[in-house]
């Protein structure tokens, strides 16, 4: 009933919208109505958001106290994300009618984290439908990017297909770069699609500074043989210091993680400190980061003699780690958040 009434309202507003140009004076007055409807939706979305936030803020302290990984912790997380479930239908409907409303987008993304499969499916379907309706809008792009890594394989595949179509249309755009990057780093995709994405990246961005981002994307964990080759080529041929530094970083980490190629890896890492001391990737000074990693690899492995720390305590009094020699010492890097 409510739903029908809602549709009727929309139909009315559409009709009014069409008649505005015909009688401009009256129209100016009437045109307030759709805007009012929009305000009402925005207001309701804010209300829902507030209610969810309040309920979640009651659960959050319990989560902070629970041990990560324990059954209790998992239960609390389920409860935390589940708070939004009861609003799912309403959120989906409001988001569908107000695709550019930010609160709606946030709430929709939040629903994706629900542990209730039914809710997730509903949200995924709705998001996909809205992105399909207007695939070139900025909103749709971020929706599709989010869906690409969705556990719902069908939705992920459809989103990937739509995004790849966009890449074919404008392969050198920033969006295309983002799409290809996340395809290449995806854990769920078939190797075929990954290889294809890598090829497209090289073809369209191989000679650009963006390759530094690509290399930085490979610094966590082992790199496939194909990508090692790709990075080595980039290191050789790129004209950008940032690309050379970033590829040295990725390759250096990759090689130094393996005892057989450790020396080669450490040499690459050290080359960053020597050759590119000022290169920044985003806000990170790469040489600084690498210095830490080298120090860690050479001094902080199990079985090594710990390097001393000299510094000040919270009262500004100087003390040394070596003051505690002869005792079993727990060094605890902590922060109160």
């Amino acid at each position: 009933m409510k739903n029908n009434f809602f549709r009727f309202l929309i139909a009315m507003f559409v009709a009014i919208g069409i008649t505005i140009p015909l009688s401009a004076q009256e129209g100016a007055k009437e045109a307030v109505k759709p805007a009012a409807k929009k305000d009402e939706a925005a207001e309701r979305l804010r209300e829902i958001n507030k209610e969810i936030t309040v309920k979640r803020s009651e659960i959050l302290p319990k989560i902070r106290k629970a041990k990560p990984g324990s059954p209790e912790y998992a239960e609390l997380l389920t409860e935390y994300y589940g708070v939004a479930d009861e609003f799912a239908d309403e959120i989906i409907e409001l988001a569908g009618d107000n695709p550019s409303n930010r609160v709606a987008t946030t709430l929709m993304n939040g629903l994706m984290r629900s542990q209730n499969k039914e809710v997730v499916t509903k949200v995924t379907d709705a998001m996909l439908a809205s992105a399909k309706a207007d695939p070139t809008s900025r909103n749709s792009f971020s929706t599709l990017m989010a869906l690409m890594s969705s556990p719902n394989r069908k939705a992920a595949a459809e989103a990937t297909e739509l995004l790849l179509a966009g890449v074919k249309e404008d392969p050198k755009s920033n969006n295309s770069f983002s799409v290809l990057m996340s395809l290449m780093n995806s854990r769920t995709l078939k190797p075929m699609t990954k290889a294809e994405a890598t090829e497209l990246l090289i073809a369209n961005f191989g000679d650009s500074e963006k390759m530094a981002n690509l290399a930085m994307g490979m610094t966590r964990g082992p790199i496939s043989a194909t990508n090692v080759e790709l990075l080595e080529n980039l290191l050789e041929e790129s004209e950008f210091d940032s690309v050379k530094a970033a590829t040295s970083f990725a390759l250096g980490k990759h090689f130094s993680a393996n005892s057989g190629t450790k020396d080669k890896g450490m040499k690459l890492l050290k080359s960053i400190v020597e050759k590119y001391p000022d290169v920044k990737i985003g806000r990170t000074n790469l040489a600084k980061t690498v210095e830490g990693e080298i120090f860690e690899a050479e001094n902080l492995q199990i079985g090594m003699n710990v390097p001393d720390i000299v510094g000040e305590d919270v009262d500004g009094v100087e003390f040394k780690l070596s003051d505690y020699k002869g005792k079993v010492v727990v060094i605890d890097f902590w922060g109160d958040w």
Binding site: N305, K327, V330, W334
Partner: protein, 121 residues
């Protein structure tokens, strides 16, 4: 984390054992407040005040908390973000001839107690 550490310090008070913190909060006032309120009985370095620069940067710390455990000679015997810390401590003290058995109270109770007794031992 704090209740567990407080409990360790308390139980191992007469053993060759110490906790040394490296705090990564930037605001010293906040830090002092935490030390007082949460009754932290062990000494902490201010991360920013290492003589060689930021300690966490130098040590390439990538997540908090990160724990290192050293034996009496200063050899690194454990590093990680958690795990069987009690087990490692027990083993290392055992190597020195100190048999210990660590038992922790329910963490919540421990937290409340420390709040009220404030003795810090």
């Amino acid at each position: 984390m704090y209740p567990h550490e407080r409990s360790l310090v308390k139980q191992l008070a007469d053993k060759p054992f110490a906790i040394v913190g490296v705090n990564s909060d930037r605001d010293l006032d906040v830090l002092k407040e935490v030390v007082k309120k949460k009754n932290l009985t062990w000494r902490s370095f201010q991360n920013e005040k290492g003589v060689d620069g930021k300690i966490s940067e130098m040590w390439a710390i990538q997540g908090w908390p990160t724990i290192f455990i050293l034996d009496e000679k200063g050899t690194i015997r454990f590093k990680g973000h958690g795990g069987d810390i009690d087990g490692v401590i027990t083993k290392l003290l055992g190597e020195m001839g100190h048999e210990v058995k660590l038992v922790h109270d329910d963490e919540k109770n421990e937290d409340n107690k420390a709040e009220s007794d404030g003795s810090g031992e």
